[in-house]
């Protein structure tokens, strides 16, 4: 974890006091916790509060008036559903798929083509990682009969880690620092990129600080922290 470089954005400190509440996709939790720390270090008057959950859950909550200033979604579709609540959004990070196999790779998976032969699990096509997985498999020309279509990446990872499945497709950021799974990067991974959008909310109670936070995420300091957690550039 690199110390947050002090790189205040263009916003003046005097406007950025008070609490900001950031609603962010669960996969951003660790990265945003660190960004939050760096942000408050840079803006001593600000207090950072985060709420992490699935993007769909967050959208439903925001639609019902959840008190948030900033929304960071895991995919563009989710941001679209929140369109009524924001003016415009900015992409701030990206993510690619990797093959996760249990530690020791017992089924000896080497390429994405091997997924057709072993017990493979994927995210359900309805959720972002599932849609991306389908695209990637199509691109690679591999037909997989998944043992299960999981609700989220965590479920895929749990089953891989416990040896329940021989392999699964997950995001690169989900496997960073994990020692119970091994990672194989598929050849076409770079062609299927998931983009993370961020936006200030129209209802933000602290719009200036919100804007400052978004700027901070997009700043070099923010991007460096995201890169530390495995995210790619937007």
């Amino acid at each position: 974890v690199s110390p947050a470089p002090s790189a205040p954005g263009s916003t003046a400190d005097s406007d950025t006091g008070g609490e900001i509440v950031v609603y962010a996709a669960a996969s951003l939790a660790d990265a945003f916790d660190e960004i939050g720390e760096a942000f408050t270090a840079a803006h001593p008057g600000a207090a950072f509060t985060s709420v992490y959950d699935g993007s769909s859950t967050l959208v439903a909550q925001l639609a019902e008036g959840a008190p948030a200033d900033v929304f960071a979604a895991a995919d563009e579709a989710s941001m679209q559903k929140a369109a009524a609540l924001t003016d415009e959004s900015t992409l701030f990070a990206s993510n690619t798929l990797v093959i996760a196999v249990p530690a020791g790779n017992p089924a000896d998976v080497r390429t994405i083509a091997d997924l057709a032969e072993v017990t493979t699990i994927l995210c359900a096509p309805e959720v972002p990682c599932g849609a991306a997985s389908a695209t990637l498999l199509d691109l690679e020309g591999v037909r997989v009969d998944p043992a299960s279509l999981e609700q989220n990446v965590t479920a895929v990872l749990t089953k891989v880690a416990t040896g329940e499945a021989d392999a699964g497709l997950v995001y690169a950021t989900d496997v960073i620092d994990r020692d119970d799974v091994e990672v194989i990067v598929p050849a076409a991974a770079a062609q299927v990129v998931n983009h993370y959008p961020i936006a200030t909310l129209d209802d933000a109670r602290n719009p200036d600080a919100a804007a400052a936070f978004v700027a901070f995420v997009l700043s070099d300091a923010g991007q460096a922290i995201l890169a530390d957690h495995g995210f790619g550039a937007p």
Partner: protein, 262 residues
């Protein structure tokens, strides 16, 4: 001694909190129904995915309930007839799966029945039996605790009377103990079935989400809820379908309810 309906002697002022309680349970449902998108409702609830999820839910839910009855009623009898200390320990053990967030319960089941688990040899994961096991695990405590309470409340006096008339243990169980505890058993079965059919977390982790095999209604609802670009309409429609089905099943069960009086 009177057969006449007796509305009891509860203070009338209790009607106020009772109504508040009832309203609190019903109003959210009404709010849900008010937001149903009727335009897509029929399509949502008649989709092939909905149908297969509902059938799977009903099937696994009923089998899980049966399993719960088969092992839960004996367990409840055993606890009810234990001394206070042993009963307290057993009750605490039974309460565990109630408190465990279902997701953690799912992980525990994975650890036990998963490929690397103690009972991994059974090869249960990703199969319909895994769904049944997950439902049984989360629903069993409800049945056990409800039945235990009922059996304990009905006491042993009638069993002693039956024994003193020469009835054997199985006869006493079948004709005295179980019928006398019937209201509690029915309540337990209802709680158990409702919990089984609504089970989501443990199933999601332990059994996975394979349409037609392990995708029960709650998983289908969750999938619909998380579906990119799809509104919550489908999720709500499916939830109402599940609800309506469960209530029909429960009313049927209640229909059997024997009219036990004292």
């Amino acid at each position: 001694m009177s057969a006449a309906r007796d509305t009891g002697y509860a203070p009338r002022a209790l009607a106020i909190p009772a109504l508040i309680g009832l309203a609190f349970l019903i109003l959210p449902l009404a709010a849900l129904i008010a937001r149903v998108e009727w335009s897509t409702f029929v399509a949502d609830v008649t989709s092939e995915a909905a149908r297969s999820a509902l059938l799977l839910s009903l099937g696994t839910g009923l089998i899980a309930t049966l399993l719960c009855i088969v092992v839960g009623v004996p367990l409840a009898l055993f606890i009810a007839r234990s001394g206070p200390r042993l009963a307290a320990v057993l009750r605490a053990a039974v309460t565990v799966p109630l408190v465990l967030p279902p997701m953690v319960g799912g992980v525990a089941l994975l650890y036990l029945f998963g490929r690397a688990g103690w009972l991994g040899g059974l090869g249960i994961s990703f199969s319909t039996p895994a769904v049944v096991l997950a439902q049984t695990f989360v629903a069993l405590p409800f049945l056990v605790l409800a039945v235990e309470g009922a059996v304990r409340t009905s006491g042993v006096e009638y069993e002693r009377t039956a024994a003193a008339l020469g009835a054997g243990r199985w006869t006493i169980l079948r004709r005295i103990t179980l019928p006398l505890a019937a209201p509690g058993i029915v309540a337990g079965v209802v709680l158990c079935f409702a919990r089984a059919i609504g089970e989501f977390g443990a199933t999601a982790l332990f059994a996975g989400n394979r349409p037609g095999v392990t995708q029960t209604m709650p998983l289908a609802i969750y999938t619909a809820f998380n579906g990119a670009g799809v509104s919550q309409g489908a999720a709500v429609a499916l939830a109402l379908l599940l609800l309506a089905t469960a209530i029909v099943v429960l009313l049927l069960v209640r229909g059997w309810r024997p009219g036990v009086g004292r």
